[in-house]
């Protein structure tokens, strides 16, 4: 049987949007720059308070911050933190969400009830407050923030996977697998999950965007990645005190956050449209 795989078809549809392609290219470029950051910038933590709060000029293309550190170097290094936090947190939530969603959707009954209640409990808490609570309870660090974000944002993924499982668990291919004596674990992870994962990827893309935003918010509140590690959020945080006369401190990390979050959202949006069989062919 010769047929296009879903992924190939999705990719073909995805390509039709110039905007989405641009967003994807942007993300790739940012990721590459983040990878080679130490090679292309000065030390982002080199303090020089004699030249603090300098506007952009030839030596400091994007100016300096309140400790005289180069803003360009800090924004570029900040990309490493933002992307790592965004991707890792989303990966964690994807793993937890898919696993719990799969269990709930496949077994139903008590397992479903338990997972659904767990989702509701987690959803009861305001997201940012919950993350803040976890971070404050342990201590703010790179790892804590990624884990805290991952542990609190898996509910969307779990609900998607559960819904998909409810739909496909009694389809012919699942019944065939069961009839041929496959164990539950094999049916779930080998047969059902690959068929349920598509909508989850869409939410994951939005998840990356929201994780980047939340990391910035935490850093902005002073509860993010501890100093001196630069993140877009904590550059903004240090900008707040100097907003009236040091615009460059707020504008550049702000633009970086805006573009990156927008890019992930556009990608997510387009992937969703591309996956939707009811959208224009």
């Amino acid at each position: 049987m010769k047929r296009d795989s879903v992924s190939a078809m999705t990719w073909r549809r995805f390509q039709r949007s110039k905007l989405a392609l641009g967003a994807l290219a942007y993300v790739v470029v940012v990721a590459l720059i983040a990878l080679i950051a130490p090679m292309i910038t000065v030390d982002p933590n080199a303090v020089d308070i004699a030249s603090r709060l300098r506007p952009p000029d030839h030596t400091h293309r994007l100016g300096t911050d309140d400790l005289g550190r180069d803003v360009l170097a800090r924004v570029i290094h900040g990309a490493r933190v933002s992307l790592t936090v965004g991707l890792t947190a989303t990966l964690i939530s994807l793993l937890i969400g898919s696993f719990l969603g799969a269990i709930a959707g496949y077994y139903g009954g008590a397992a479903d009830w338990l997972v659904s209640r767990l989702i509701e409990i987690v959803l009861c808490f305001p997201f940012l407050l919950l993350v803040l609570g976890i971070v404050a309870l342990f201590r703010p660090s790179f790892i804590t923030i990624m884990i805290a974000l991952g542990l609190t944002s898996w509910t969307t993924e779990a609900r998607f996977v559960r819904g998909e499982f409810l739909r496909i668990r009694d389809m012919e291919f699942a019944q065939a697998a069961r009839a041929s004596g496959a164990r539950d674990a094999r049916i779930i992870f080998r047969h059902l999950l690959p068929n349920a994962i598509a909508p989850v990827l869409v939410s994951a893309s939005f998840g990356v965007a929201s994780a980047i935003l939340i990391e910035s918010a935490l850093s902005f509140l002073g509860m993010g990645v501890p100093p001196p590690t630069p993140t877009w959020g904590n550059i903004l945080y240090s900008a707040e005190q100097h907003l009236e006369y040091a615009w460059w401190l707020a504008v550049f990390p702000g633009v970086a956050i805006f573009l990156t979050v927008a890019a992930f959202n556009i990608i997510g949006d387009r992937v969703r449209d591309a996956l939707d069989p009811r959208s224009e062919s």
Binding site: N45, V47, I49, L67, A136, P226, P228, Q241, L243
Partner: protein, 543 residues
Amino acid sequence: MDGVKRFVVLLLLAVVACTNERPLPTVSTSEDLKKPQEGGTVVRRLQGDIATLNPVMAQSVNDRQVDYYLHTPMVHFDADLSAIPGLAEKWEISSDGRLYTSDGSNVTAGDVLFTLKKIIDPQTEAPQIAGAFDQLDLRTTRVVDPHTIVVGFKDGISPQLAHFNDLLVIPEHVYARGDFKIDFTSRVVGCGPYRLVRRVAGKEILLERRPEYWGPRPNLQRVLFKVIADDITAWNAMKRGEIDETIISTDTWLAEGRRPELQKFIDFRRFYTLNYNYIAWNNRDPVLGDKRLRRALAMCIDLKSIIENVYHGTARAMNGPFTPDQWAYNPDVPVIEYNPQEALRTLRSLGWLDTNKDGLLDKGGKPLKLEMLITAGSIASNPFAQLFQAELKKIGIELDVVPLDFATLIQRVLAGNYQCAYLSWNLDPDPDPFALFDSSQFPPRGQNFVFYSNPEADRLLEEGRREFDQTKRKKTYQQLHALLADDQPYTWTLQVSSKWAINKRIRDVKESKGWGLFQWFPGELGWWIPIDQRTHDVPLRRR
């Protein structure tokens, strides 16, 4: 000495019917505009909402700001921070006792006793004030007549008189009824020059002058407090003329203080108050327990450069527990000079060497890593911590900066579960630092959370607080200053001056020596607004 020295305070109160002998204000002519005039509304900024209007339960400086209008303290401070009569008319001191005489309307000695009992009652949990009266002796405290009270103390210490500034007397017949902790958060009966008109939680508090006030009447008819937590928001409100005063950051002061269009209506003030920033070293820490190492770390702080570049000369280097404005200050104590190379030599002599060539000093296989707690969101500590971190890195010490919310930070510090922390103190007018450095004052008893213990320091601290003669106290405290600077239980860093913006329509805004604009006498009670500049009166009435 046998047993505890007794300390007795005798307080006389005369119940005086409110008199209104003052002539009514005359309508001002242009020649009168330089003389204080009655009336008008000042709009003040509160940096956070008040927790309660119950003065015994006051928790923050915000609460105290409002309380000072509603209650007259037993003892006022004047501009030089000397105790002057407030509700208490006068007092006497004897070798083992003191006599206070007070004159107030409708306030009786019984009310004073009631208030004192409430303050020290553990059930009250008066967070701020209880410490000021922890030596109170109820067995020797007694009401002599409605105007006189004898207040006894278990211990005779000279800072006690200043603590009577914290005693805001509340009437027993009102406050004895109901739940003391809950029922008086939004209503208040005080003996001060103003009364509460309304409180809108989280937003504003309006006070109005009491016509029947027994003491010298303040000029302003109304005081409106607006709650504005954020400094930038407050500064913008100031520029729009919506508030009459606010504290401003050093950077705002530097960037905007010289703008002529703002100088037209804003008075920019800068002065030093009784506060300082410091690094608290946990003296119990195996590494930080050595004062030579603490001194070496102190040499890595380039105070001169910070003062020059970050504060543009609007801060001073500190070298001990007293500020240059305090009489206890010892001018001969040097500030530790910035000298990282000397610091490195000291560290090497203590056995800290980079044996494994990883760029970090180590000893016995352990690298020299320190953890410094700072308050998350603090404007002062974040840049300082990062500068210190960068300096230490240069000589091979890793400093982890851990931002924590203030409550968590204090909890860890009080439990001794920390290595170092960047903190600041607001000091009392009396310089006695007993609670901070005496070895009997380890938490939870006192605030010696650096666990500093030196018998010589203990002796000087004890001597200083038991002496009533200021000249002798000064000598003791100057010795103590030198000793503490040498031992470095803290590394004192900066005293940053306070910067204020005040609308020029407010007249006679004066600062005290170290206590700032408020809560001394006359302080904010001496302010007035010329009759042609009462911009905030009309909207208030309409509301």
